[in-house]
């Protein structure tokens, strides 16, 4: 999904003055792009909803600090990404690669039905984050490494591994 969001300056100015209606307008303008971004990264919908809420709490608390350098979406997206990645780190226990390796798991809809979206859903959250941020949101490996607190080569190899998995899952799906 490509986001081309422009919010009128007057709404931003009113939001910065604390106007609730303007703050809500910002929420309405960005709730879907933010949710979509974090939901693509996080496996559980309820986690994505929590991150959506945390992101906008930070937005409404700090909108005064937004100086208009760069687009508002860029600023909000960075907050959302940081929070989603923090959640992955915090719950690293949940982060198992095993799901990727269990094509036969019941209820996973493997076989001919396995389209790209389903295959993507079965990647680990770290892999999802790297693929989504790089391939869809257009982050560079440097930016991903910076936000994840990892190295550039980690980001590059994660991306390659994730694509190799996607390719394999789709291949298996096509043959079934």
């Amino acid at each position: 999904m490509t986001v081309a969001l422009a919010v009128p300056d007057v709404i931003v100015a009113r939001a910065q003055a604390g106007d609730e209606a303007a703050l809500e307008a910002l929420y309405r303008a960005f709730e879907t792009p933010v949710y979509n971004l974090v939901r693509r990264i996080l496996r559980r919908p309820e986690d994505a909803e929590d991150v959506l809420q945390e992101t906008f709490l930070e937005v409404v608390r700090n909108i005064k600090q937004f100086r208009g350098e760069g687009y508002l979406w860029g600023w909000i997206r960075r907050i959302a990404t940081t929070k989603a990645l923090m959640r992955i780190r915090r719950e690293q226990v949940r982060e198992t690669e095993s799901l990727d390796e269990e094509p036969g798991k019941p209820g996973m809809h493997v076989g001919a039905n396995l389209d790209l979206e389903r295959a993507f859903d079965r990647l680990s959250e770290t892999s999802r984050a790297v693929v989504w941020l790089h391939d869809v949101e257009g982050y560079t490996h440097e930016e991903i490494a910076d936000q994840m607190g990892k190295t550039v080569s980690f980001s590059k190899s994660q991306l390659a591994r994730a694509h190799a998995r996607l390719r394999r899952m789709l291949d298996e799906g096509a043959q079934a």
Partner: protein
């Protein structure tokens, strides 16, 4: 025959492929096919429909925001309330007020603190938690509340480092009285509009 790894293909896609990988792609149909499939996967990912939040989270965000604002207001209520009380006690205990410039500042300081406390009381009448303030009034109120909060931060620091007669402190308190007066006016205007 050696083929490109996924990492090689990713590098080629980014225009950073090794000489070997770039040359290999031109001669190997299998690897060209893999590269094409990579491009297609990325295009498909970009074309996925947006996922919408299943529930409206704005009410929860709004409730938190309102609770924070009202907590902030109550915080200055108690803080300045105890200061005003201290000022009153000090004024009563002061049998011989300091003379000259120092005495004048001292009196001004007490006056500002008491005005501030009185305005704080008036504000309680207009305490409109839960009542919807919108548009210009809400923006003005929020801005004034923020400025008073910031000023209170400065005042809290100043109170520790200076004694009662400091000119800077008097100026800060007078500034606070000015902001409080505007805030009471903003609330009162709004209250008239809704017929209170």
């Amino acid at each position: 025959m050696m083929h490109c790894t996924m990492e090689d293909l990713g590098a080629v896609r980014a225009g950073e492929g090794s000489v070997w990988a770039r040359r290999h792609i031109t001669t190997c149909a299998a690897c060209r096919g893999e590269l094409e499939a990579l491009f297609q996967r990325v295009a498909q990912l970009k074309a996925l429909p947006a996922l919408h939040p299943p529930r409206d989270r704005w009410p929860a965000i709004q409730a938190t925001l309102r609770a924070e604002r009202s907590r902030r207001r109550r915080t200055w209520g108690t803080w300045t309330g105890s200061l005003a009380l201290a000022a009153t006690i000090a004024a009563v205990l002061l049998v011989q007020p300091p003379r000259g410039e120092q005495g004048k500042l001292h009196a001004e300081l007490n006056q500002a603190k008491q005005q501030s406390a009185t305005l704080e009381d008036s504000l309680q009448q207009y305490d409109v938690d839960g009542r919807v303030l919108s548009g210009h009034a809400a923006a003005l109120v929020a801005d004034l509340e923020d400025r008073i909060s910031m000023l209170d931060g400065t005042l809290a620091q100043q109170e520790h480092v200076t004694h009662g007669g400091d000119a800077a402190l008097v100026k800060l308190w007078q500034e606070r009285v000015g902001l409080m007066r505007e805030l009471v006016n903003a609330r009162a205007t709004r209250a008239r509009y809704v017929g209170l």
